[in-house]
């Protein structure tokens, strides 16, 4: 069953290359991604067997796909994102749209592979495969400065993942049977110093992907220049690869080295959170604002995981999902605004509430989730994470807590500029509301409030992972 998470997107993507009609291509892709979603929902609430066949016998690497709570929650997020993105952007015009959608589906397959892989070499394989289609998507369909910026993004992450490859090679050489399985890696025979080396090699890859301050410089530019559907994939799901890597590989493999680096990493994360928040306040471009806000949120999750306390990790596990949903909603709104007004500058917007009240209400809803107001899903996760940070060090928690205030400032500022005030010329010229996109937003907003009021299903889903992580 797990293999279908790879097969459905890949086969659909290949078929799409030959469907030249835009609407048909888009409908096919939506149907396929909804099928994946149905499977993901089924897999999340049922016991699913691992998929395991021999792959490279002389390297002792196996094609192993397996799920636990952590994987399930991210599979679910990936599966929700794709149809949401495809439906919301169904009306957008792109040249050669079938190839555009096809590459999006390839990305989905890569992401699914990353979250499912139980073998380090396979993990690396998918890690890179998720990157390649995004490289083409951004470079072909992106903004003016797309080529240079996407290349910077590519080189950054490629270099990081090469370090991870060395780490994998290094660990593999020290396992009993030269195996690549997680279990073998956990029991690898390493001295303390070697563990620190291996930890560093893996950490660079994950840190660049998230990204952690000061390795974040590729991100705002890449988010801004990419076509918005791609930004959605990158920001809602791809950055989670870094956090997932830490939870799946780094923490179980090197608990001691992990604990030894708590202070440094948490410090860097908090610096990054504040830095990104302050910059977000100054942004006029709505995409850049969301990009910086996202850096701050990811930084908080990373800091929480590195506190190594159960409560904070629980918070981060939930927030992995919640942040994806929230940021997806914000990006969809940004995309609608950009498509319908032709600008991203908030200066030129205003009065949305009068022109398109539904969209404005949705914007307010997601804005509240972005500030982690109680009753929204983000509140649950952030509350737990701040709790964990407080246990680690009250001062750190206090500094990180400033980011909540800052988030309120920039988010509400955005709402104010976009939704209220005089109706600007650009807003006034907006065409009729995009009903399909609004329907998607409403569904996402329902998820936001339902998991905000009743987060228990998410706790149940991640319980097994948490237990395993804490057992170390």
């Amino acid at each position: 069953m797990l293999i279908s998470f790879l097969l459905i997107p890949i086969l659909t993507a290949i078929v799409l290359l030959f469907i030249k009609k835009d609407t048909l291509a888009s409908q096919t892709a939506i149907a396929a991604s909804l099928a994946t979603l149905a499977l993901a929902v089924f897999a999340s609430f049922n016991q699913v067997d691992a998929f395991d066949i021999a792959w490279l016998p002389n390297l002792n690497s196996r094609f192993t796909l397996q799920v636990d709570g952590l994987a399930k929650i991210l599979i679910l997020l990936t599966a929700i994102s794709l149809p949401a993105i495809l439906i919301a952007s169904a009306k957008n015009e792109y040249k050669q749209k079938n190839i555009f959608i096809s590459l999006l589906l390839f990305t989905q397959a890569g992401l699914m592979g990353v979250f499912l892989a139980g073998d380090a070499l396979l993990f690396y394989f998918f890690w890179e495969l998720a990157l390649i289609p995004v490289y083409f998507l951004c470079s072909i369909w992106g903004g003016e400065k797309r080529i240079a910026i996407t290349f910077k993004f590519f080189i950054y992450t490629f270099l990081g993942s090469l370090f991870m490859l060395i780490g994998i090679l290094f660990l593999n050489a020290h396992t009993a049977e030269h195996s690549f399985s997680i279990q073998a890696f956990i029991h690898a025979n390493l001295t303390g110093g070697q563990k620190i080396t291996a930890f560093a090699l893996f950490f660079i890859a994950f840190a660049i992907k998230m990204p952690i301050f000061p390795l974040h410089t590729w991100q705002p530019d890449a988010y801004e220049q990419s076509p918005t559907p791609v930004t959605m994939v990158m920001s809602a799901v791809m950055v989670k690869m870094g956090l997932y890597g830490i939870l799946r590989w780094l923490l179980p493999l090197f608990p001691v080295a992990f604990a030894a680096h708590t202070n440094v990493v948490v410090f860097l994360s908090v610096v990054g959170i504040l830095y990104a928040s302050f910059i977000a306040i100054r942004q006029d471009d709505i995409k850049r604002l969301i990009a910086y806000s996202s850096i701050a949120h990811i930084g908080l999750m990373n800091a929480a995981i590195f506190t190594n306390t159960g409560i904070a990790i629980q918070g981060a596990l939930i927030q992995l999902f919640s942040h994806g949903i929230n940021v997806l909603g914000l990006w969809i709104i940004a995309d609608i605004l950009e498509q319908q007004t032709g600008t991203r500058s908030m200066q030129q917007m205003g009065g949305l509430a009068k022109k398109q009240p539904t969209l404005a209400i949705l914007l307010v809803g997601f804005a509240l989730a972005n500030i982690a107001m109680p009753l929204t899903n983000a509140f649950v996760g952030e509350f737990l994470m701040f709790n964990g940070l407080f246990i680690l060090n009250p001062w750190i928690a206090a500094f990180a807590g400033i980011s909540i205030v800052l988030a309120a400032i920039y988010t509400l500022n955005m709402v104010q500029k976009v939704a209220y005030g005089e109706i600007s010329e650009k807003i006034n010229n907006m065409p009729a509301p995009n009903k399909a996109a609004q329907a998607v937003l409403i569904i996402l907003l329902i998820i936001v409030f339902v998991t905000g009021v009743y987060p228990q299903p998410l706790f149940t889903l991640t319980a097994d992972t948490l237990e395993q992580l804490l057992a170390k």
Binding site: P57, L59, Y124, S139, F154, L165, L169, T197
Partner: protein, 461 residues
């Protein structure tokens, strides 16, 4: 032995067939049939069905490894000639002459995969090199081609001289040409002989570095690769180079111990400088052909890792690397041949004009850069794995990886030109059949990117 004899015979036959057979097509077909026969005869020896055998006084040793590598070389040559038939015919009415030279080169290559004696090494290298000098100058009316041929000839002969000097020194110190772990002749002045032996080995090392274009002996490469007709550059940069590497490994897997710690030091120096020169200079090239020349230097740096220690890992790695690198390089050159000029700009907008061609080129470039799902990734992975298994430090692997990241810069420049820059590619007409042939190579690379072991499983069974 089969391969050596049959390839020589085929070379002679090809030489004379231009008298009777005038059409290019027939000559091309004969060459392909000849190659097929060559592959069969080599397989016959590999499986022990039929072996031409006579006493070589232990100068040649036919191992499973050597014979298998032969097969791979022949297969790649087959693909190469099949793909480039029309292009080769352009230089002369008598393409048969060129095919004859290819067969002589293959004869040299099969000696290099099975020599057990330094004299045979010398012979193999010469048989391999001399036809190459001619091929480099094949474009008789082109001044650059002539210059390149002369340059290559002069420098090549000089390096062969150095090789011969080294072999003499080794003989002087050990009293033997054989490829066993060197034993010094017992005499009073042992330290002196040790010195002579080391000097000899270092001279051989330098000469071999020249042949595989490793820094700091790489200076001929860009000029020769650039000046030679593209279709022959493609052969020169692949099979010839790979054969050089097999020889290189064969010598030093037995002899390197005599150098002691110096060996690792010298080798590390050469590898790092090769990676440095190849990768860094390639970034700044304006011509795709020169970029590929430097990239081939950089790739040589990676292949040198196989010299680190003779393990089964290293053997697997070099075989896989040679195959993948050769296929990808033949592919890229195959596309380049169809361009009217060699600049990056010539590729602008290729993705729009010919999506399939752009796609296969991307696969070749990804493979050279070592991106997963192409054979290049596993080639690099196996190589690094072998390196680590041989006890090299992690620092060397990190350096290798950093340069692999640098290589992305220049390979992706071409991808960017094809996909992201709008323009009209300046190219000759590309027949459908030709594109499909390239697609086949790309598919081979993709298969190797998922199941790399198909290449070297036959080393053992």
């Amino acid at each position: 032995m089969n391969a050596i004899i049959v390839s020589t015979l085929l070379g002679v036959i090809m030489m004379f067939c231009s008298w009777g057979i005038k059409t290019q097509k027939t000559q091309h077909t004969i060459a392909l049939v000849g190659l097929f026969v060559l592959i069969l005869s080599n397989l016959a020896q590999l499986n022990g069905w039929f072996v031409i055998d006579f006493d070589t006084k232990g100068m040649l040793a036919f191992t499973r490894f050597g014979l298998y590598v032969n097969t791979l070389f022949f297969l790649i040559t087959f693909i190469y000639i099949w793909l480039n038939g029309e292009e080769i015919a352009k230089f002369d009415n008598q393409a048969a002459d060129f095919y004859a030279l290819f067969f002589f080169i293959l004869c040299g290559a099969s000696i290099l995969t099975s020599f057990d004696n330094l004299l045979m090494l010398f012979l193999g290298i010469e048989i391999l090199s001399i036809p190459l000098y001619i091929l480099t100058g094949a474009d008789k009316k082109n001044l650059f081609s002539n210059e390149a041929a002369l340059k290559y000839f002069l420098m090549g002969s000089f390096s062969t001289g150095i090789l011969l000097l080294g072999i003499t020194f080794i003989y002087g110190a050990t009293g033997s040409f054989h490829l066993v772990e060197p034993v010094l002749r017992a005499s009073d002045g042992l330290p002196k002989e040790q010195m002579i032996l080391s000097a000899g080995l270092l001279l051989v090392f330098a000469a071999m570095n020249f042949k595989v274009s490793a820094a700091p002996f790489h200076f001929w490469t860009p000029d020769v690769y650039d000046g030679a007709p593209t279709v022959f550059t493609s052969f020169m940069a692949t099979i010839v180079k790979a054969a050089g590497f097999i020889a290189f490994i064969t010598i030093f897997s037995s002899q390197s111990k005599a150098l002691g710690y110096t060996w690792e030091l010298v080798l590390s120096f050469v590898i790092i400088s090769t990676l440095l020169v190849g990768n860094i200079v390639a970034v700044f090239q304006r011509s795709v052909k020169r970029m590929l020349a430097y990239s081939s230097i950089a790739q040589a740096g990676f292949m040198l890792f196989a010299l680190y220690g003779k393990s089964s890992f290293a053997q697997e790695a070099i075989v896989l690397y040679a195959v993948v690198y050769s296929l990808a390089t033949i592919g890229v050159f195959g596309v380049l041949i169809k361009m009217k000029e060699n600049s990056f700009e010539a590729f602008n907008g290729l993705a729009k004009a010919n999506p399939l061609l752009a796609f296969v080129t991307t696969i070749f470039l990804f493979s050279l850069a070592g991106i997963p799902l192409t054979g290049g990734f596993f080639a690099k992975y196996y190589m690094l794995n072998a390196l680590y298994a041989a006890g090299a430090g992690l620092w060397l692997i990190i350096i290798a990886i950093l340069f692999a990241a640098v290589s992305v810069f220049y390979y992706f420049k071409l991808v960017q030109a094809m996909y992201f820059v709008t323009g009209e590619p300046t190219m000759h007409e590309v027949p459908k059949k030709y594109t499909y042939a390239l697609l086949l190579i790309a598919i081979l690379l993709l298969i190797l990117g998922v199941f790399p072991s198909v290449v070297f499983n036959y080393l053992y069974f």
